[in-house]
């Protein structure tokens, strides 16, 4: 059953005085990972809970494969959800946490054990964990239990609410890969909520950038990165210099975005705009070096591959040239902020 398509149609939701969703229409394609990306308060968790059936929208509809699920309660939706604080049952062992959804469905005995074991294998927790209390586990291990608990019921849709928010960088990287691996092997439709653009790029097949209760842009990570719809998306999804249009070389007013890596250090030809400036800051980031160059009292950031940086021999206070192609400058229609 590869891929239940989830479709939100004109979904509105408000809490007392606050409007959390203002008419969201979005399709999460079957068998893919759709990331809801945005800052806290943008409505992404509300949308996820509406998908889960934990909240009912004030207006609008939710369809699973074209069937209206708007009024179906959470316990009859067959969705697996991983909560932001995981919400593991603290009074149960690892095994019992995972078994809960199966017991509720009347699965017993060997069948129960087999299915719990399979899913715990899938998330990489061996037998030695089965009887441990969930409160004794590390953050990454708890994460795996939460994922296993959501997957064991073979849900139609997997919903992940900032599942990796509290983890260390390395653990996060590993779990991101595993989420992808597991999702690919099960081909399960997944909606993944995060505020972290790197996480979004790493797992998303489709990214929906949200802001103030609206979905502002939907696309593959590459589409959104290369063609951000507005300045907000440009600076939130990836890093960009926000410049005034004339400085950037365009013959119009307004603001434009220029990705850090699209600014070229000491270009030789092949660019449309060139300025001179002074290097004000150098931050070594491993594979890349980030430079801050002062050009006519503007601070311009650029990202240079480590080898290229070494070859140029630039240091703090060096006078350098910076330039870019006009085709890399992202201009937007007026009214964007």
């Amino acid at each position: 059953m590869a891929g239940v398509e989830v479709r939100f149609e004109d979904v509105w939701k408000s809490y007392e005085a606050v409007i959390a969703l203002r008419g969201v229409t979005l399709t999460a394609p079957g068998g893919r990972i759709t990331v809801l990306l945005g800052q806290s308060g943008c409505g992404k968790t509300t949308l996820l809970k509406i998908a889960a059936g934990l909240l009912e929208p004030d207006r609008g509809r939710v369809y699973f494969n074209g069937v209206d699920y708007t009024r179906v309660p959470a316990e009859r939706r067959d969705v697996g959800m991983v909560f932001q604080d995981l919400a593991l049952f603290p009074h149960m062992s690892v095994f019992e946490n995972v078994a809960f959804g199966l017991r509720v469905r009347g699965v017993r005995g060997l069948e129960l054990e087999r299915r719990v074991r399979e899913v715990l294998d899938l998330v990489g927790l061996d037998r030695s964990f089965y009887n441990r209390r969930v409160t004794e586990l590390s953050g990454g291990q708890q994460q795996r239990v939460a994922l296993a608990r959501a997957l064991v019921i073979e849900p139609k849709v997997l919903l992940l609410d900032e599942p990796l928010a509290h983890l260390d960088y390395k653990v996060k990287q590993r779990l991101l890969e595993e989420v992808r691996r597991i999702q690919r092997s099960l081909r399960i439709t997944t909606i993944y909520v995060t505020h972290d653009q790197l996480e979004a790029m790493a797992v998303g097949d489709v990214i929906a950038v949200m802001r103030d209760g609206y979905v502002v842009q939907v696309g593959t990570p590459r589409e959104v990165y290369e063609n951000p719809r507005d300045l907000y998306v440009a600076s939130f999804f990836g890093d960009a210099n926000i410049l005034d249009s004339r400085f950037a070389g365009l013959n119009s007013d307004g603001l434009v975005a220029l990705r850090f890596e699209d600014v070229i250090l000491n270009p030789n030809g092949d660019v449309d705009v060139v300025y001179e400036g002074v290097v004000e800051d150098i931050i070594f980031q491993g594979a890349f070096v980030s430079l801050e160059v002062n050009v006519i009292n503007r601070s311009l950031k650029l990202l240079v591959p480590r080898r290229e940086f070494a070859r140029q021999g630039v240091s703090l206070g060096s006078r350098v040239r910076v330039g870019w192609k006009l085709s890399e400058v992202r201009g937007f229609n007026s009214g964007t902020t």
């Binding site: 889960a52 059936g53 316990e75 909560f83 049952f89 603290p90 959804g101 608990r149 919903l159």
Partner: protein
């Protein structure tokens, strides 16, 4: 001696002082001399006396029934509310719950006395029990909300896994609320079992609980052998031991919960 050792010795001295009067009371209750401070040998006479003390038996039954009914009533009522109240709405209920805890007990007791008198209710078992319940409700609610786990997400999690309301309550909420429920039951039972002031003001002629009996006898020691110093020590020892055993059982339960 370092300041740490000094503090340590001091701490244990204070701890000892706290228990000396109780220990003295227990020892005295086994003294065959009726005079305080004169040891004439070990006896269980005063306890045998208690077996014949029909007033004490009546008082015990009254204290127990009132404590059991009042604690059960107040904890179940408070639990019902505590499990549902969350977020912003908490403040409204809290505002109602705290005054009974803050108000001086004597004043609250006077209020109950006047209200029952105004209504013309005959004072006795029912008025005492209701008087205890007023206070226990507040304590039960506070105990239950203080130890409350964040249930909302767990409830949501159980629902997405397919559990209905009843099953979620049985498998998730109740087990997690249990330490709070036990705490609330223990606290309200003991508050009621040992309550004196409110009982004094809400009881009527001829109705008494253990604390009232002890009070009456303590104020007029020696009017009968039942009210002699050491007979009273024996009675007080039994009441204290009851309270202490509940306290110990409760503490052990909590430590085991915390230790797991």
């Amino acid at each position: 001696m370092s300041s740490k050792q000094l503090l340590r010795v001091y701490t244990y001295v204070i701890a000892l002082l706290l228990y000396i009067p109780i220990a003295f009371m227990v020892v005295s209750s086994f003294n065959s001399s009726p005079y305080i401070g004169v040891w004439e040998g070990f006896t269980t006479y005063w306890y045998q006396l208690l077996l014949r003390d029909s007033e004490a038996h009546i008082a015990l039954v009254n204290s127990l029934t009132i404590a059991i009914v009042s604690s059960t009533l107040s904890v179940s009522t408070a639990l019902l509310a505590a499990l549902q109240v969350r977020g912003r709405r908490l403040t409204a209920v809290d505002a109602l719950v705290y005054p009974p805890i803050v108000m001086p007990e004597v004043a609250e007791a006077v209020a109950l006395f006047l209200a029952f008198t105004y209504l013309g209710v005959e004072k006795g078992w029912l008025t005492v029990m209701l008087g205890h319940t007023a206070f226990n409700l507040a304590f039960a609610y506070v105990t239950l909300t203080v130890s409350r786990v964040r249930f909302e997400e767990l409830e949501d999690a159980a629902r997405t896994l397919g559990a209905g309301r009843l099953q979620t309550f049985k498998d998730i909420i109740l087990p997690l609320a249990m330490p709070g429920i036990v705490a609330a039951l223990a606290i309200t039972f003991l508050l009621s079992f040992t309550n004196f002031i409110k009982t004094l003001f809400t009881t009527g002629p001829g109705f008494y609980t253990l604390p009232i009996l002890i009070w009456n006898r303590a104020r007029r020691p020696g009017i009968s052998e039942f009210a002699s110093q050491n007979a009273l020590n024996a009675l007080a020892t039994l009441v204290t031991l009851t309270a202490l055993s509940i306290a110990v059982a409760y503490t052990a339960y909590m430590l085991r919960k915390a230790g797991r």
